[in-house]
């Protein structure tokens, strides 16, 4: 069997005897006989490292890793600089716990402080937490932050990622609140409908920028409406896009959240990812999760600690702002190293190259027979129609190692391009699409 216990059988006996026991069984005498397991668990016996590796390699080999990815919809195929994993694989970072003991966790704490700063810069907000589970839970927590006794209405645009919407709904089910959906119009939030839905109970409005269809929402107009209604404005945003797009801070969002996966995390079948959350100053103490603050030690030396813990479950228990304990610390560090390696210029290139490739893709798809469904400005995702059954097209693309757009309802596909796509790849894709669509 595989074994990570360090003590040998002899040492175990020696230790048992040293403290007055004859066997392991005696250590478990508090466990009532009738609930003790007799015999073995019905799982395989332990294996060697080689065998387990081969078993897992066998499973991994049953997956298809597409060399050409044109799908996003919440998980994005971006380049991860080599330095990112090189840094975050350092054993101290990997194996540490949450930095409860600040004096021997300054590295960890400082890196979170730096992460918080970068998230604030990216979003244009005042304060960031140390991360939550992913973009969907960040959205849910962001929405819950806005609830108060008087205001319990939550409006969410129909043009947000459906998984995010569903996660918000699940969280709201916990709070016994029903989420109201703002309809979409031409692929974006219907502002007229929003205006009508806002009322004195509305706690907040949640939209996504760019939205699920890749479209750039009229974020300023929506913000004005929300604030006129004295509700809070919560925006889910793509972090790469923020290198070039107007920031939530600039259009006066109260809370900005998002999925941090594009900042250095692999697609990894959906996780672990990174939920980032940032807020305006007046919402600071409603932020859930860990927050690191700068302070000084007994000698006046700069240092960092977990702070504002009066919000948290381990202090406040049922009065906490959230139940979150573990977050996605190592993913947040990946995001920090990613942003440091990219710098402003690299981030700009990731954004510009992705958007430009997507526009080139849209053009080529249009020529090939898959016309864009909406005419609004978009970032790096967009919806097209498809003259044939989407399954037929996607299967053909799959044969060529291409993961095509995500099939939506009907004959529609949600496409995505990033800086990892090349012109040659897109031209090839377009050729295949044309061939299939003109059959």
């Amino acid at each position: 069997m595989g074994r990570y216990v360090t003590n040998t059988k002899e040492e175990q006996l020696e230790m048992l005897h040293a403290i007055g026991y004859d066997s392991f069984d005696e250590l478990y005498r508090d466990v009532p006989e009738q609930m003790q397991i007799h015999g073995d668990l019905k799982i395989p016996a332990g294996m060697s490292e080689l065998e387990v590796l081969q078993k897992l390699e066998g499973m991994a080999a049953k997956n298809t890793v597409f060399p050409h990815v044109f799908r996003g919809a919440g998980a994005y195929h971006h380049y991860i600089p080599a330095i990112v994993n090189s840094v975050t694989e350092k054993e101290d970072f990997v194996t540490a716990y949450t930095p409860y003991q600040a004096e021997i966790s300054q590295g960890n704490l400082q890196s979170i402080f730096e992460y918080q700063t970068m998230i604030c810069e990216l979003t244009g907000m005042d304060a960031s937490n140390a991360s939550v589970y992913d973009g969907a839970t960040a959205a849910a927590e962001g929405v819950l932050m806005c609830l108060d006794r008087k205001r319990t209405g939550i409006l969410v645009s129909a043009a947000v990622n459906p998984q995010v919407l569903e996660t918000i709904q699940t969280y709201c089910y916990g709070r016994n609140i029903e989420v109201q959906i703002i309809p979409e119009k031409d692929g974006a939030t219907d502002t007229r409908a929003l205006k009508e839905m806002l009322d004195a109970q509305t706690a907040c409005v949640y939209i996504q920028q760019p939205n699920y269809y890749g479209i750039l929402e009229e974020v300023e107009e929506i913000g004005s409406l929300v604030h006129e209604g004295n509700a809070k404005y919560v925006v889910g945003c793509n972090p790469i896009s923020l290198a070039v797009l107007k920031t939530p801070g600039e259009y006066h969002a109260d809370v900005a959240v998002g999925e941090g996966q594009p900042l250095g995390m692999p697609m990894g079948f959906g996780g672990p990812y990174l939920g980032f959350m940032a807020a305006k100053q007046d919402m600071l103490r409603k932020l859930p999760g860990r927050i690191v603050g700068q302070t000084v030690d007994t000698q006046g030396k700069r240092g960092f600690v977990l702070t504002l813990q009066a919000r948290e479950q381990h202090i406040r228990r049922e009065k906490a702002s959230s139940n979150i304990c573990s977050n996605e610390a190592l993913c947040a560090m990946k995001a920090s190293v990613y942003m440091a390696a990219m710098g402003p210029e690299g981030m700009r290139r990731a954004a510009v190259n992705s958007a430009s490739m997507a526009h080139y893709l849209a053009e080529k798809l249009q020529e090939a027979g898959c016309a864009a469904k909406y005419s609004r400005p978009f970032f790096h995702e967009f919806v097209t129609g498809c003259p044939v059954d989407t399954g037929v097209l996607l299967t053909r693309l799959e044969e060529e190692g291409i993961l095509g757009g995500l099939p939506l309802s009907g004959r529609e596909l949600l496409w995505c391009a990033t800086e990892l796509n090349t012109k040659g790849e897109i031209d090839r894709l377009a050729g295949i699409v044309k061939e299939v669509c003109s059959r």
């Binding site: 069997m1 392991f24 250590l27 997956n63 597409f66 919440g74 004096e103 797009l245 692999p266 990219m342």
Partner: protein, 476 residues
């Protein structure tokens, strides 16, 4: 040391991406107004910066880490290798099912293994951490009562010895929390429990072994009391490391559980995450499970449960963490898991017995995988607190135990050595604890001023909270 922003020089950078090879799209009026201020640093700057940060971070590889209830066991390297396989990392979560059969097999196999270990029937891997699992599990309970139109069940009972996440999760699930006092030994007071349950009881949340490290012998009676009152019983899996292969929550009468894969199943904690908090349940609750379940036996399919509570996050959970945990479970197998638990309990008892000469053990009897000591007496007599002892340990390169938890013990230090520490390490640690104790008695001021050799001394937490300084000020 410097912040990375203090190393930044305008115009410096790394060479990651090429220029765009197609016409550049113009963002026009959607463009950001304010310049993006991120560090402008070379790769050498980054390498040295994080090297310095790593030196200021204590991991399991740096030494003993007996952080109670956190199970800081050794994190095997094969876990990192399997989770880094391109066949897992390179997979988009929205690929067609037939192209992700390997991922589905991982989830299905993990479900089978962890259900068997815990005595549950089904399991979801969507929750990303223990607290997230608690929330999810409580929503299952809620959905269950809702499905029966049993609307008066609005309360969750939580012992006062419980982890803080328990009551916080209950509130997130829309419940009122009923705190019940524990017996002096941290076990559930059956009388108080009987008084607390009733028609409004949605459920009880419990760890067993409990948070003082004792196995609650009355567990069958406890779960029966709650069930009899119409409530369900939730198992907080934080302490599962004591009992794998010995006894199972499912056999104790629990209906829903969560596991902390980053505790019991050796996936690294990453300085605070990512974790993974799968939720297991008995069959009658499985129709409420979130998101999708893997069905079939190859080919596998994702199937949505009929009365699902809905997704609790995007996609299928922290998948790559599940890969690590499965790797570990397969490595150890039925025999190794049992031995891991046995040795975890042995190490805790050994350490407790050896320290009991000097340190007060409020529950001085056979413990499970962890134990609690109390510095109450020393605090009163010589003014040395649990925190002081903890800080003195830092100078020995030892991560302190969990401080001031559980709340039911004054000046508590909760010690969990885990099974991967060796006897000689424990013996060394015992010497350190003893030396500190002697020093506390003979020269308490030195202990109260500890730590002395860490990069920074004790930090002013009050100032940090009063004047929050949460990001680098570019104007500084």
């Amino acid at each position: 040391m410097k912040l990375i922003f203090e190393r930044s020089v305008r115009g410096r950078g790394c060479s990651v991406l090429p220029e765009c090879e197609v016409p550049v799209w113009d963002f026009q009026e959607y463009g950001r107004e304010k310049e993006l201020r991120l560090p402008e640093v070379s790769e050498n700057d980054i390498s040295r910066h994080y090297t310095e940060l790593a030196k200021r971070t204590h991991g399991v590889n740096d030494g003993f880490y007996p952080l109670g209830s956190c199970t800081m066991k050794y994190n095997p390297k094969i876990n990192e290798r399997t989770a880094a396989l391109n066949g897992f990392t390179g997979v988009h979560p929205l690929q067609p099912e037939h192209t992700v059969q390997g991922c589905l097999e991982v989830l299905k196999t993990a479900e089978q293994v962890f259900c068997e270990i815990t005595g549950m029937d089904r399991m979801t891997f969507q929750p990303a951490a223990g607290a997230h699992g608690e929330f999810t599990g409580l929503l299952l309970i809620k959905a269950y009562h809702d499905s029966r139109n049993d609307e008066k069940r609005t309360k969750i009972i939580v012992p006062d010895s419980a982890h803080g996440t328990n009551p916080a999760s209950a509130v997130m699930a829309g419940y009122a929390v009923v705190n019940i006092p524990s017996d002096p030994d941290g076990c559930v007071n059956l009388q108080k429990l009987r008084e607390a349950v009733g028609e409004d009881t949605a459920g009880l949340m419990l760890t067993n072994p409990n948070t003082v490290g004792l196995f609650d012998k009355n567990i069958l009676e406890i779960t029966r009391i709650v069930h009899d009152a119409g409530g369900l019983v939730y198992y907080d899996g934080a302490n599962l490391n004591a009992i794998m292969g010995v006894t199972r929550p499912g056999d104790m009468g629990f209906d829903v559980i969560h596991l902390n894969l980053h505790k019991t199943f050796s996936t690294p904690h990453g300085g605070g995450g990512p974790g993974s908090g799968p939720v297991g349940c008995k069959d009658f609750l499985s129709r409420f499970l979130p998101s999708v379940q893997v069905e079939g036996d190859g080919p596998y399919t994702f199937t949505r449960q009929p009365d699902s509570i809905g997704m609790v996050k995007a996609f299928y959970g922290n998948f790559l963490v599940v890969v690590k945990a499965l790797t570990y479970a397969l490595m150890l197998g039925k025999d190794g898991l049992l031995e891991a638990s046995q040795n975890a309990v042995l190490n805790a008892n050994y350490l407790m017995e050896k320290l009991a000469d000097k340190y007060k053990m409020p529950y001085h009897r056979t413990c499970m995988h962890e134990f609690v000591m109390s510095l109450e007496q020393e605090h009163e007599q010589i003014g040395v607190s649990a925190m002081d002892i903890a800080k003195a340990l830092l100078d020995y390169g030892i991560h302190p135990p969990t401080m001031y938890f559980p709340l039911i013990v004054a000046e508590a230090l909760m010690v969990e050595p885990t099974e991967t520490e060796s006897k000689e390490n424990l013996d060394e640690i015992i010497r350190a604890f003893e030396e500190i104790y002697e020093q506390a008695r003979t020269n308490p001021e030195v202990v109260k001023a500890a730590p002395h050799v860490t990069p920074v001394g004790r930090l002013d937490e009050v100032q940090a909270a009063r004047k929050p300084h949460l990001k680098y000020s570019y104007d500084e």
